[in-house]
Symmetry: C2
Subunit: 214 residues, 2 copies
Amino acid sequence: MKKLRPKTRIQRKNTAAILDAALEVFSQHGFRGATLDQIAKSAGLSKPNMLYYFASKEEIHTQLLSELMVVWLDPLRALDPLGDPIEEIVGYVLRKLEMSRELPRESRLFANEIIQGAPRIMNNIKNDLHPLVEEKCNIIQGWVDAGKIVNINPKHLIFSIWSTTQHYADFDVQIQALLAPEQGEKFNDAAVFLETLYRRALTPNAQKNADLLE
Amino acid sequence: MKKLRPKTRIQRKNTAAILDAALEVFSQHGFRGATLDQIAKSAGLSKPNMLYYFASKEEIHTQLLSELMVVWLDPLRALDPLGDPIEEIVGYVLRKLEMSRELPRESRLFANEIIQGAPRIMNNIKNDLHPLVEEKCNIIQGWVDAGKIVNINPKHLIFSIWSTTQHYADFDVQIQALLAPEQGEKFNDAAVFLETLYRRALTPNAQKNADLLE
DNA sequence: CAAAAGTTTGACCAAACGGTCAGAAACACG
DNA sequence: CGTGTTTCTGACCGTTTGGTCAAACTTTTG
């Protein structure tokens, strides 16, 4: 790490422009498919000028990923062991879906990186994500053991939440093509569907009969 | 199209080797990230020799995708309008999961292509996938209307099935990292989880109480 | 204002890229 | 065997790639 903190306003403005442009390009083409010329042009800088702020293509990519990892895990961090189990999990699903709506480029950046073997982010997965998942799975397992939710495998539950929600960002073009011409309230429909799916699947039978009688 | 059908045994052997190597490389790096040298080396051929069988990088990629599209849609085609609704959908989920287990490279090839905007496969999506999805959604909607399954949006149901099952191929490295050190029967656990998820979510209440009483 | 610090650029480089080509080697077959 | 066809290769080409550099320009600061 050479730059301890961006000081000048020019540094702040340009590093921000570079990272935003890089997010755009990396998320669309993956690391190897993205070019510095594309990023520089999209950032409105010359290539050498961009490399004045970041030493290499890899450095840009790495910084993007490590910054995003923090934001990306927020919805899971917010899962409250003291809250109502069903509401907590459904809330997590909806927060995650909201992130796909608001930050689709970030979602695709991660997806590209992981599909391609996560060569540049495996450390973050093992050091940051893994313990967090472990912690939250213990909470969910506690809910299972207490009979608050149905007996399911917590890790696979989390995998399913990740996949169903991120799908709306990562596979957006496919979804757009298949939803055409209706399209309409894509994310609202998704929210309704996913809330129904998880609420019905997770609510124990006795409680469901009381709460959800149709 | 220049070659009407691969005739000689050498042609058959080499085109197969090329396509297999290309699948490996494209699925790991995406179209732009893959190089002809990598593919040629992996296929055990020289680059000019490879280009004797395929005119260009794009031609290899296109042929891979169009061949795979057929296989890829088989599980959905098999959804039988005359079968038991819940069993048909659960069966579809499990067939799709099985494809993630058996053909992870193919899954990643599609995922790479679609995340990056599906520039080379959008026609197939619109011409082949879209009508098939439309047809099967009508079937599912019929089951909904008949009260055979719970009231959900069929398209979003299909999206969720695609995402949850393909996730095990596309995000394999992440799943491996998070499941460590246990790992165990990854796909079996996934099958149990997904079957439970969809069976519980889709079964109407009355029927569920009769069938699944715990 | 003037020096120091920070910023920007065009020209350039070696390596890697997708692709071509003439001709050599291997093969099929009467 | 010989001859026509298929298969293969090394050398090569123009372009793009990530990255460098000295020098010029701009901004900050004493």
